[in-house]
Amino acid sequence: MHLSAERRLSVAWVVVVTITLIYLVIDGSVDDSDVMRASTVASVAAIGLALIKVRIVMREFMDVRYAPRILRTVTDALVLTMGVFLFGTYLVGRAIA
């Protein structure tokens, strides 16, 4: 299927907004009524979804998709680096807490 650039942008928007709304589901599923509870699953999911959105924004909104290979590699490496550091800090922090 070949989408026009304009259409493709709108689809990307729908996807990132939908991911944002998933946060409401995560939020609702973790807590007991009003009391907030710690949850590794919720935290890891939150960070993961954020990074997926970051990549979509870069690829689709920022036109990295059409950019030379070097920029695609660098931005993907950036998202990967962010992921490694964020998950790493969170998991190591929990392990030694």
Binding site: P68, R69, I70, L71, T73, V74
Partner: protein
């Protein structure tokens, strides 16, 4: 042609001297603050008055000799400044940018490093001051040193705009954007005026351990770029004969080399 180039090299002695003095100055500054005076990484902002007295006593000679050296050589901070001012004058922008930069940093030297040297010299000279007063000197020293923010904020932005609108190719545009990163660290340091502990305090994980490496990276970058600029400069007024180092060009070639 070779002869011409040789002549130019001799003609650049002022620039090269300024560059080497800049390197020596930043080196000396780091040695004094980190090794001799041990005033960096900064002391803990939450020390009680008695502990600040002990802090001064612990560093007695280091502070006096280290800051004595700064009192002798601190004025050479103007050399880096002069070189940067020259680089901005070499751009196709209004001289107002160059002179703004020069004046901002020239006057900033007083609160930026004179205050800490004076306050800490006084603190060391009078171990029998009331501890509360010693703590006041400790606060004045560190807060003035860390908290002279506006100069680096506005100065970085002035330099950034000059680089981004310059058409002579004096400095690469990526360094202009890096100046924005540096300017934003001066926003990040503002909470160190508010918090005596925590990540945002002037010795905190963000206030010091993120900010100072960013500033260090920025400083190393501009020192290397100034060297490259001096090499390329033809001491003329128009565009430089060669473009500034293109970061993506290098990266691209590197990637292609790996791919081949």
């Amino acid at each position: 042609m070779t002869q011409e180039r040789g002549k130019l090299r001799g003609a650049k002695r002022e620039l090269w001297l300024a560059w080497y003095v800049t390197v020596a100055f930043y080196g000396l500054y780091s040695v004094v603050f980190f090794a001799l005076a041990r005033a960096q990484p900064p002391g803990r902002p939450w020390l009680d008055p008695g502990q600040t007295v002990a802090w001064f006593a612990d560093r007695h000679w280091g502070l006096l000799i280290g800051f004595g050296l700064i009192f002798v050589l601190g004025g050479f901070s103007a050399v880096a400044l002069a070189l940067i001012t020259y680089s901005i004058r070499r751009m196709s922008v209004s001289p107002a940018y160059a002179y703004s930069y020069l004046i901002l940093y020239a006057i900033a030297a007083i609160p930026g490093f004179m205050f800490i040297c004076v306050a800490m010299t006084c603190g060391v000279m009078r171990p029998d001051l009331s501890p509360v007063t010693t703590q006041w000197l400790y606060d004045l020293g560190f807060l003035s040193f860390v908290g002279t923010m506006g100069v680096f904020l506005v100065g970085s932005l002035i330099w950034m705009v000059a680089i981004l609108i310059d058409e002579n190719g004096v400095l690469p545009r990526w360094f202009g954007y890096l100046s924005l990163v540096n300017a934003l660290t001066e926003v990040v340091i503002a909470p160190s005026w508010i918090f005596q502990r925590g990540v945002l305090a002037y010795n905190g994980a963000i206030g010091f351990w993120v900010n100072v490496p960013v500033f260090g990276l920025y400083t190393v970058a501009f020192i290397l770029l100034l060297r490259d600029f001096i090499r390329r400069d033809d001491l003329g007024t128009g565009p430089l004969p060669m473009p500034p180092p293109d970061v993506w060009g290098h990266a691209k070639r590197a990637v292609e080399a790996v791919g081949a």
